[in-house]
C-alpha cells in the first residue's frame, strides 16, 4: 500500500515538475513578446531639416528650440513628460521648449487638457500649446506621441525621435542623453532615435 502511494506521489511530482517547466517556458516566451512590444517604436517622423513655417509660435532667437509632440491621453506621454522634466533639470534649460498637445479633429474644446497637459504646464520655461487637428504636429512630420525635435539657433534640425527608452517607461535612455549632449554643444552618437507612444491619428502631411 505504501509502495503504491509512493509511486503515485512520484508520478504526481514528475507531473508537477513538467508543468513547472512548461510554465517557465510560457512565462519566458510571454516576457520576450512583451519586451519586443515594449522596445518597438512608432513610425519615425518625417522631420523637416529646417524650422517649418506657418506655426502658431516662433522659434527662439539666439538659443536652441525643442518641440515635443504629445497625445494628451496616451499613457506613454506621462513618461515623455517625466523625461522632459529630467532633461530640463539636468542641463537642458538653455533651450526654448514647446510641448504641443494634439487635439484631434472632431473633439470638443478642452479635450486635450489632461493630467499630462497640466503637468507639462507646470514645468518652468515650458510653453504648452493645444494643437488643434495636429496642424503643428503635421508641420513637424510627427506621427507618434513623444516625438521630440531639437533645432539649433539657426533653425537647423539637430535631433528627432523619442526621449524615453521604451513604451511608457521612465528612466535613463539614449534619446534623452543625445538631446542633452546636443544642447550642451557636445557630439551625439546619433541624431535620431525611436519614439515610443500613441499614434497622434491625423493624416500625415508636411508643409
Amino acid at each position: 500500500m505504501i509502495d503504491k502511494n509512493t509511486a503515485i506521489r512520484a508520478r504526481s511530482d514528475r507531473l508537477f515538475k513538467a508543468l513547472t517547466l512548461v510554465w517557465l517556458i510560457l512565462v519566458l516566451a510571454s516576457g520576450a513578446l512583451m519586451w519586443r512590444y515594449k522596445m518597438t517604436g512608432g513610425a519615425p517622423a518625417d522631420a523637416p531639416a529646417r524650422w517649418p513655417t506657418g506655426l502658431d509660435f516662433p522659434r527662439a532667437e539666439g538659443r536652441p528650440t525643442l518641440v515635443m509632440i504629445a497625445h494628451p491621453k496616451c499613457a506613454c506621454t506621462r513618461a515623455s513628460i517625466s523625461e522632459l522634466e529630467r532633461l530640463l533639470s539636468s542641463g537642458g534649460q538653455n533651450a526654448d521648449v514647446h510641448v504641443l498637445f494634439v487635439r484631434p479633429t472632431g473633439t470638443p474644446d478642452g479635450w486635450e487638457r489632461s493630467d499630462t497637459y497640466a503637468r507639462a504646464s507646470q514645468l518652468p520655461g515650458v510653453h504648452v500649446h493645444s494643437d488643434i487637428g495636429a496642424a503643428s504636429a503635421k508641420r513637424f512630420g510627427a506621427h507618434v506621441s513623444g516625438e521630440t525635435l531639437l533645432y539649433d539657433v539657426d533653425g537647423a534640425l539637430l535631433y528627432h525621435g523619442g526621449i524615453t527608452g521604451a513604451r511608457g517607461h521612465e528612466g535613463d535612455n539614449a534619446g534623452r542623453s543625445r538631446v542633452l549632449a546636443l544642447l550642451q554643444g557636445q557630439v551625439a552618437d546619433r541624431r535620431d532615435g525611436p519614439t515610443f507612444g500613441c499614434d497622434i491619428g491625423e493624416q500625415r502631411s508636411r508643409q
Partner: protein
C-alpha cells in the same frame, strides 16, 4: 527460542539519548515543514494580491492605447491580466497542491521576482517599484531556507544581464556603462542576500535548538511519569501489615530518588514471621527494578516453603538475580540482603550479608551489635559456601533494629557520617517509646543530619519482642 538481543536494557540511557535526538530531529522536520507550508500559503495570497494590484495598476496608469481620438484597451491591461495570471498560476497551484515541497518554494521564488519585473514594467519603470525586488527577497527569507534566494537572485541577475545587453541605460543610467557597474548592482543584491542567508541559518539553528529542547522536555516528562509509576509499584509492594505474633514492628523507607533500591519485608508465618532487609548497590530506577525482582523471588520462595532456612532462600534469590540481571539484562547490579526467620518465642535464625543488626537489651538497656555473615546477591552464581546462618535470641522487651547503610552513612554539610554509634545512642535514648516513635525519631534525625538531602535510600526497621511473659504466665 534464543534471545539474541541480550543487550543491557537497564543501561539503555544511551539508547534513550538516541531516541531523544531522533525525536528532536523529527520535531524539527515537522516544524520546518509546517513553516514552509505556512509561508507557501502566504505567498499564494500574495501572488493573487499582486495580480489584482497589477491589473489595478494597469487600468489606472495605462487603461487605453490611443490613435488620435479613438482608443483601445492598452496592452498593459492584457499583460497584467494574462501574463500576470500566468506568473501567478503555477505558484498558487503548487502552494495549494504541494505545500511544503521544495520545488514549490523555488517556483514561488522565481515567480515573486518575475512579479517585481512585471510591476516595474506596469508602473512605467518608476524607481520606487524597484524596491519590490528587495522586499521580495526579504519576504522569501521567511522560508528560513537560504536556497530559495538562489533562483530569486538568478532571476535578478538574468534581468540585469538582458538589460545590459539591450537597454543598459534602464539599469545603469548610461549608454555605455563601465564593466564594473554590473558588480555594483549585483553587489547590493548579494549584500542583502548575505544578511538574509545569515538570518536563515540562524533561524534554522534556533528551530533545531528549540526542537531539541522540546524533545528533551518530552523525554524528561515521560521519564518522570515512568518513575512515578515505578515508585507507585514499589511503594505498593512494601508490607502493609506489620502485625506479627510476639513482635511489635515499625518500618520506614525514604528513597533518595523517586524509586529506591532498598528492600524490607515482613511475611507472617504460623509461629512468627520472616523479616527481610536489603540494599541494591546504587539507587534510582535500575536499583528499584532489581529490588523488585529480589522481593518477588524471596516472597515466592518463602511462601512456597515457609519452614525453609534463610540460607536456602537466599541461595534461591541469588540464582534468580544472577540469571536475570547478569545473564538476561547484561547488567551488573548486585545487592546485600539479610533474611531473618523469627519465631514468636524470640528465636531468630538469620543469614546474608548486610549491616550488623542492633539488639537493644531491656535488661542492660544497652545495644549489642550482631554481625550477619554472607555475601552479595547477584554477583556470583552460587553463594551457598559463603552464606552462614547466625542465631539471635530476643528477650521480653528487647529491640531488634535493622537498617541500611543509607542511614548510617548519611552525611552532613561537613561530610561527616551519621554513624553507627549515633544510631545506637538514639536507640538507647528512645527505647522507652513505642516502635513507631523510635522508628520515626531515628529516621527524622538521620534526614536532619543530611539536611533532608540523603545521598542514598534510608530504611529502618524496629522490632520489639513482646508477649513472652504473658504466654509463660498463661
Amino acid at each position: 527460542m534464543t534471545n539474541s538481543a541480550a543487550k543491557p536494557v537497564l543501561g539503555a540511557v544511551s539508547d534513550q539519548k538516541v531516541t531523544e535526538r531522533a525525536r528532536g530531529t523529527a520535531l524539527f522536520e515537522e516544524r520546518f515543514l509546517a513553516s514552509h507550508k505556512r509561508v507557501d500559503r502566504l505567498f499564494a495570497y500574495l501572488m493573487m494580491l499582486q495580480w489584482v494590484a497589477g491589473i489595478i495598476l494597469a487600468v489606472t496608469v495605462s487603461p487605453y492605447a490611443w490613435a488620435g481620438k479613438t482608443h483601445t484597451v492598452h496592452s498593459h491591461v492584457f499583460i497584467a491580466v494574462f501574463l500576470g495570471g500566468l506568473i501567478t498560476a503555477m505558484p498558487v497551484l503548487l502552494a495549494l497542491k504541494r505545500p511544503g515541497w521544495e520545488t514549490t518554494r523555488m517556483v514561488i521564488a522565481v515567480a515573486q521576482m518575475l512579479w517585481s519585473a512585471l510591476l516595474i514594467h506596469l508602473s512605467g519603470g518608476r524607481i520606487e517599484t524597484h524596491f519590490h525586488v528587495f522586499g521580495s527577497l526579504a519576504f522569501l527569507s521567511f522560508y528560513r531556507d537560504w536556497r530559495v534566494l538562489v533562483p530569486a537572485t538568478v532571476v535578478v541577475a538574468a534581468d540585469h544581464f538582458l538589460r545590459q545587453m539591450y537597454w543598459p541605460e534602464s539599469v545603469f543610467g548610461v549608454l555605455v556603462p563601465e564593466s564594473w557597474r554590473f558588480l555594483e548592482h549585483a553587489g547590493w543584491v548579494v549584500f542583502e542576500d548575505i544578511f538574509l542567508l545569515i538570518s536563515c541559518i540562524t533561524s534554522v539553528t534556533e528551530l533545531k535548538t528549540s526542537a531539541a529542547q522540546q524533545a528533551h522536555i518530552e523525554f524528561v516528562d515521560r521519564l518522570e511519569r515512568e518513575m512515578e509509576i515505578a515508585s507507585t509499584i514499589q511503594t505498593s509492594i512494601l508490607p502493609r501489615r506489620l502485625k506479627v505474633s510476639g513482635l511489635d514492628v515499625a518500618a520506614k523507607m525514604v528513597p533518595a530518588t523517586e524509586v529506591g533500591g532498598d528492600y524490607y519485608e515482613i511475611l507472617p508465618t504460623k509461629d512468627g514471621c520472616w523479616i527481610g532487609i536489603g540494599d541494591v548497590a546504587g539507587h534510582g530506577l535500575r536499583a528499584g527494578l532489581v529490588m523488585l525482582q529480589a522481593q518477588s523471588a524471596a516472597e515466592a520462595l518463602i511462601r512456597s516453603v515457609p519452614e525453609d532456612s534463610p540460607s536456602s532462600v537466599l541461595c534461591g534469590v541469588n540464582r534468580v538475580l544472577f540469571e536475570n540481571v547478569r545473564n538476561r539484562l547484561g547488567s551488573e547490579e548486585h545487592m546485600t540482603m539479610s533474611l531473618l526467620h523469627y519465631r514468636e518465642y524470640g528465636h531468630i535464625v538469620c543469614a546474608g550479608a548486610h549491616e550488623e543488626a542492633i539488639v537493644w537489651r531491656a535488661k542492660t538497656r544497652k545495644c549489642e551489635l550482631i554481625p550477619v555473615k554472607g555475601t552479595w546477591l547477584g554477583a556470583i552464581e552460587d553463594i551457598a559456601a559463603a552464606t552462614v546462618e547466625t542465631t539471635i535470641a530476643l528477650g521480653e522487651g528487647d529491640l531488634l533494629v535493622l537498617y541500611t547503610d543509607g542511614l548510617t552513612e548519611s552525611r552532613n554539610d561537613k561530610r561527616e557520617q551519621f554513624g553507627l554509634p549515633r544510631l545506637c545512642d538514639l536507640v538507647e535514648k528512645a527505647s522507652g517509646e513505642s516502635v513507631e516513635i523510635i522508628c520515626e525519631t531515628i529516621v527524622t534525625a538521620a534526614l536532619a543530619w543530611s539536611m533532608d538531602r540523603p545521598d542514598d535510600d534510608v530504611t529502618l526497621m524496629v522490632c520489639r519482642q513482646v508477649g513472652i511473659a504473658a504466654r509463660a504466665a498463661a
